[in-house]
Amino acid sequence: MNLLKKLTRQREFLILMVVTAVFIVMSFASPIFLKPQNLLVLLLSMSIETIIAVGMVNLMVSGGFDMSVGSILGFSGVITAILLRAGFPIFLAILLALCVGVLIGLWNGFLVAKVKINPFVTTLSSLSIFRGLTFVLTSGRNIAGLPAGFKLIGQTRIGGMVQLPIIYALVILVIGDILMRNSSFFRQNYYIGGNEKAAKLSGINVDRMIIFNYILTGFLAALAGVIFTSRMGSSSCQAGTGWELRVITAVILGGASLRGGSGTVLGAFLGVLLMGLISNMLTLLGVDVYWQQFVVGTVLISAVVIDTLGRSENILFSRIRRTNKEY
């Protein structure tokens, strides 16, 4: 009984119930849904978002967030492709693309932590700057004809079934979850997001941590860009457009708050899973693809409203809490 009570209080548990419900409904609604091919497509489509979401949840726990991840993904993909076409070795091309992600993260983090510009404006401008640069570098064209060795990174199937990006996502997911749960370094973010002043009084170097978080988010977004480009076999300057919204929505669904202080990697993954399931469901049920964005927006605002009402000081809710308090 106590365990059940504890479980229902966890956002992860609630979202798992929703995921299960969608699963059950879908297995009846669509004959293709439970087929391995469909489930693999679902996982593959989720893998890139999962990698970004791990960075994003870490950042959001500390009270920040990053609108530029989609642009970093697109930009780093294009950089990789250009360098490869210019004859750079695969390893070096990838390394440089990842460095670009780190630098963009450093830029975002510096502006937020040191210049004290709010994360929304900072990363919204980065979204525009780096998407713009992507178009400038490519004149809006896609870059194909990448070396076969590079494509192996994203297209190899293990056992002829599971594509590598799924494995990458899984590895990053597990490492991310372990670190955010157990590492004293990453736990600092919970203090910063929960009560920044108290974190400072406790001797946490808040600014340095915030910059690190943006760098990590930039790095993972760039990594996602490299993997995505490899999987597609070509770079598109539109890659990742609008993904920041999908990822942020997923992370909030998974229990992170825009105020910071809460969220887990597992929750973020379940959020991505739910978003992926919804997209998959819409596709399988033959809903027009143009409805997808509408659904993302609706899910986002629902998640935020639930989050806000759950913590708000408004009378309706404080009345309930007051009765629990002993006098």
Binding site: S183, S184, F185, G194, A198, L201, G203, S262, Y327
Partner: protein, 516 residues
């Protein structure tokens, strides 16, 4: 002879415009509980922040175990063995008790992997000291009661193994029963040889837990005594003791206070105030005294419609009013001078003329809703002269005015709506003496025209000098009402701190939560 673990000598700390600590001396005996008392702004919190390493003193010395020390950061203070339990809880609600206590000092293996078991066990050991065995170290702090959080906060300080523990108004958010629990714990700590500095507003508490007491007033040291040698009246007298100048003016003999004009009955708001009933007569200036957090500002804001209230009745000029918005309040003839002119009162970036007409802009519009610039400027010029605002032009941006002139602009903004009731919350906070006396003169003038004025103030001399009658609030209730010869600092402080009660008229308001 007991040795002094801490000695503070001639400590001075200045903030721009304020001398927060002006030569404070005090000695803390080892293993004793030492209370520090004083009115709002007496320098209690500054002293504590200085000892906790948050502020650096301008001059003076701190001797710890006989040696002179410098405290640069809170971390350094902790390392020395001085831990502070801050008034605003510094806990993170989404984390467990254990994680909150061992913030940034978690036991780790392999560099940075937290040893959860060890951390839980250490937490449990600490919790056993205070008989908190009914809680689990893994429980989230957000699920705890305020009293439990306060204890966790103390445990957090305790985990540094301090020699001196500083508690800054630990009971301000606790109920009486919770306070009793806390006191038991403080006695336990004392028996353990820990020296405690206990900062409080509530004089009664001193006689329950403290061995010694130091009184501060206006940043200055007043006296240090053994608690067993003194009584509450002595403390109140020591906390007071300022001379009252004549800058408050006197009521014009022609100015006769009229009949009941404004009335509030049983007004309630969650968390902040409860069952508030009072009245103000026509042309009367009524003061609201009390400690910070007693609910006075919230009451003023609720009457003005800036905050919700849950129940109660407001009557002005015999007409019952339901005020849900500030717009309705202004339309009904209620003005509100905010205690915080910079963030709630003025439009700092705008010019004086825009500010002065902002409360009743529609009076300066043509039938089609366009502004009549000339009329605005003429009105502003008139007001600037009337209120003696010193400025090169009416187009000066308000942020460039001095504090006193800003306050005069704020006052004229609200006098401009021709209010029937004016709520003035800290009307002279942060302004110089000259501007003060002018503001008092203006308030008296306004009252003489038949306006009811409600003055909320933490400045006792202001309350006594200006008001015809005074209500004292304590912990969200009206603790008493005094007028004529009873309007003395002793009576007001006594009622505000709960030393005196108005027997027969009000019940002891002990169970009400004043703040979160």
């Amino acid at each position: 002879m007991i040795e002094n673990i801490l000695e503070v000598r001639n400590l001075i700390k200045t903030f721009p415009g304020v001398k927060a600590l002006d030569g404070v001396d005090f000695n803390l005996k080892k293993g004793s509980v030492h209370a520090i008392v004083g009115e709002n702004g007496a320098g209690k919190s500054t002293l504590m922040m200085t000892l906790g390493g948050v502020y650096r003193p301008d001059s003076g010395e701190i001797l710890f175990e006989g040696k002179r020390i410098e405290l640069g950061t809170p971390h350094e203070a902790n390392m020395r063995g001085i831990s502070v339990v801050y008034q605003e809880l510094s806990l993170v609600p989404n984390l467990s008790i254990a994680e909150n206590i061992f913030v940034n000092r978690q036991p780790v293996k392999h560099g940075h992997f937290i040893k959860w078991d060890e951390m839980r066990k250490n937490t449990y050991k600490l919790m056993k000291i205070f008989n908190l065995e009914n809680l689990s170290p893994t429980q989230l702090v957000g699920s705890l009661s305020l009293a439990e959080r306060q204890v966790v906060e103390i445990l957090k300080a305790m985990s540094h193994k301090p020699k001196i523990l500083i508690l800054d108004e630990p009971t301000s958010s606790l109920t009486e029963r919770e306070t009793k629990e806390l006191f038991k714990n403080i006695i336990l700590l004392k028996e353990d040889g820990i020296s405690i500095i206990y900062i409080t507003h509530y004089l009664k508490e001193i006689f329950e837990v403290a061995d010694e007491v130091t009184v501060l007033r206006d940043g200055k040291f007043v006296c240090q005594s053994k608690v067993s040698d003194i009584d509450e009246d002595y403390l109140v007298t020591k906390m007071v003791g300022r001379t009252i100048g004549n800058m408050y003016g006197v009521r014009n003999p022609d100015h006769v206070i009229g009949k009941k004009y404004f009335e509030v009955e049983k007004l309630c708001q969650f968390r902040h105030f409860d069952n508030i009933s009072f009245h103000i007569n026509k042309g009367e200036i009524v003061g609201f005294a009390g400690l910070v957090g007693a609910g006075r500002t919230e009451l003023g804001r609720a009457i003005f419609g800036a905050e919700n209230y849950q129940s109660g009745k407001i009557t002005l000029e015999g007409t019952p009013l339901t005020i849900k918005t500030t717009k309705k309040a202004i339309a009904s003839g209620i003005g509100y001078l905010s205690e915080d002119r910079k963030s709630h009162g003025l439009f700092l970036n705008s010019e004086i003329n825009s500010n002065i007409v902002s409360t009743h802009l529609s009076d300066f519009c043509t039938n089609y809703g366009f502004l009549k610039k000339d009329m605005i400027d003429a009105f502003t010029k008139e007001k600037i002269d009337e209120f003696n605002v010193i400025t090169p032009s009416i187009y000066q941006r308000v942020e460039n005015l001095s504090g006193g002139n800003q306050q005069k602009v704020l006052v004229s903004m609200w006098f401009g709506i021709s209010p029937k009731l004016l709520i003035a919350d800290e009307p002279t906070r942060g302004v110089d003496v000259g501007a003060k006396s002018e503001i008092y003169r203006l308030i008296r003038q306004l009252a003489a025209t038949g306006v009811s004025v409600m003055v909320i103030s933490s400045d006792l001399s202001e309350i006594i000098g200006l008001c015809d009658r005074v209500y004292i609030m304590r912990q969200g209730r009206i603790a008493g009402e005094v007028e004529n010869d009873d309007v003395t600092e002793e009576n007001i402080i006594g009622l505000a701190t709960g030393v005196y009660t108005m027997n027969g008229r009000i019940n002891e308001p002990s169970q009400f939560q004043t703040s979160i």
